[in-house]
């Protein structure tokens, strides 16, 4: 089974040289730490920055320089600032190659729910609805099952939707899956996890073809 870092490391392998990538809050943010050295990737922060760098050194924090999670950050050479309308303009016009975000539920048709739990304080969708409605490639980092061991990969989302038919790939603590027109297609197993365990943890339609390899993570 993968921990959060393992999920982040596996997702990092999906990033290609020359990509512009938007990382959501939580596990997706960790992905930045595992992009292979020498690969040219530009991170977009939807509050108005292309070329997000690591956290600043102690004492060098700048209140004017934050990411979408409101954390102090730095820029890397070649970065640029812009306003929020342009930021979502480049998202909507599909200039951003890859969006990585978290989810509470995903359905086997690619629907995603990640912003609201009825009866609980609703904080808002932030930029998530814009991102999922427009991104050309969306990878979701999520837990396969909830604390009660119930599947979060479903036939139909039970929570209010963030977007419809948009998720392309899912990486969980148990597996890597593609979302296809036929349902969730199992691609890889997490180390030590059997196909049977993934089957039991997946409520939505699961396609298993041939031998499923174990994922390779350094």
């Amino acid at each position: 089974m993968l921990d959060k870092v393992g999920i982040a490391k596996r997702i990092a392998k999906e990033i290609k040289d020359g990509y512009y990538v938007n990382l959501g809050i939580g596990i997706p943010t960790l992905v930045a730490n595992y992009i292979p050295m020498g690969m040219n990737v530009v991170l977009q922060s939807e509050n108005g920055l292309l070329g997000m760098g690591p956290f600043p050194f102690e004492g060098e924090e700048d209140a004017d320089l934050i990411n979408a999670g409101k954390q102090t950050i730095t820029t890397v050479p070649g970065s640029s600032f812009f306003d929020s309308a342009m930021s979502f303009g480049m998202i909507r016009s599909r200039k951003v190659d890859l969006t990585i975000l978290g989810a509470m539920e995903v359905a086997d048709n690619g629907d995603i729910a990640n912003w609201k739990i009825p009866g609980k304080m609703v904080k808002g969708m932030g930029g998530a609805m814009d991102l999922v409605a427009s991104a050309k490639n969306i990878i979701v980092a999520m837990q396969h099952v909830n604390k009660a061991n119930e599947s979060k990969l479903l036939t139909q989302c039970t929570l209010p939707l963030t977007g419809v038919k948009c998720v392309k790939k899912i990486v969980t603590e148990l597996a890597v899956l593609d979302v296809t027109p036929e349902g969730f297609k199992l691609l890889e197993r997490a180390p030590g996890i059997s196909v049977e365990q993934i089957k039991n943890a997946t409520e939505g339609k699961l396609i298993i073809e041939g031998e499923i390899p174990e994922m390779k993570i350094e």
Binding site: S45, E46, N47, G48, L49, P54, F55, P56, F57, E58, G59, E60, E61, D62, A63, D64, L65, I66, N67, A68, G69, K70, Q71, T72, I73, F81, F82, D83, S84, A85, S87, F88, G89, I91, R92, R94, D111, M121, V122, K123, G124, M125, G126, G127, A128, M129, D130, A133, S134, P160, L161, T162, G163, V164
Partner: protein, 235 residues
């Protein structure tokens, strides 16, 4: 052309109860903190505030929530505020949550003189309820869009890094965020700046917001520029 006013109190003199005001900023970054302090002092009530976030308990728009001056918030994310949550759950405060890009683009539409925009954000979700939709061809496939209306705000209150007597504005780093679009969108736009200079001292090529959009400008008395999440690494 001199748009300079003495201070926040003078800039906000005609903000009345029940006004709709836009407030720039993302989290606590690039918020018009001097204007917010002046609005608290002024005590205007029943405000509808359009702002990406609602501040924290003791800073930003959170200060106006504490004094119950806000009737309605229109935001994309309101996470970090216990008083906000209390007022929302007790029904004292009305909240309209909208996607962040929709918020930005509805400001942009107002500033560009366009009555509405079409966006895919929220299609198939509860955000789409009651809204007109329309299908367009995108990359060879039919895709559904929501029609979202340009904002209609009495005042836009923004914060810039530098400004001049004509109201030309330059923003700094990610403190730019919603400020330029909101500056374009207010019937009356008030800009507070860290540095205020005579006309001619800013390089015209570097101006982000042309002064035509700005009605009043003043130098903020002091800037705390509070950091919401101080994340660092060791040297």
């Amino acid at each position: 052309m001199n748009k300079i006013v003495a201070n926040a109190d003078e800039a906000l003199k005609d903000v009345m109860d029940n006004a709709t005001i836009m407030l720039g900023g993302f989290g606590l970054c690039g918020i018009p903190e001097n204007s917010i302090a002046a609005l608290v002092k002024k005590g205007v009530k029943g405000l509808t505030c359009i702002s990406n976030n609602a501040g924290v308990d003791d800073f930003g728009i959170g200060l106006m929530l504490k004094t119950r001056q806000v009737k309605k918030m229109i935001s994309s994310y309101v996470g970090e505020n216990a008083e906000f949550e209390r007022q929302l759950l007790s029904g004292e405060l009305e909240v309209e949550l909208i996607p962040q890009g929709t918020l930005a683009t509805r400001c942009l539409a107002a500033g560009y003189g366009m009555p509405a925009i079409f966006t895919p954000a929220g299609v198939g979700t509860e955000v789409a309820i009651g809204k007109e939709t329309r299908k367009f061809m995108v990359d060879g496939a039919e895709k559904e869009f929501l029609m979202e209306m340009a904002f209609d705000a009495d005042f836009a209150i923004v914060k810039a890094w530098k400004g001049d007597a004509h109201g030309n504005l330059i923003f700094r780093e990610t403190a730019r965020n919603f400020n330029p679009m909101m500056a374009m969108a207010g019937k009356i736009t008030i800009a507070e700046v860290e540095e205020l200079v005579p006309a001619g001292e800013l390089d015209p090529d570097q101006i982000h917001t042309p002064g035509i959009y700005v009605h009043r400008i003043f130098k903020g008395e002091k800037y705390e520029k509070r950091i919401e999440q101080r994340t660092v690494r060791k040297k």
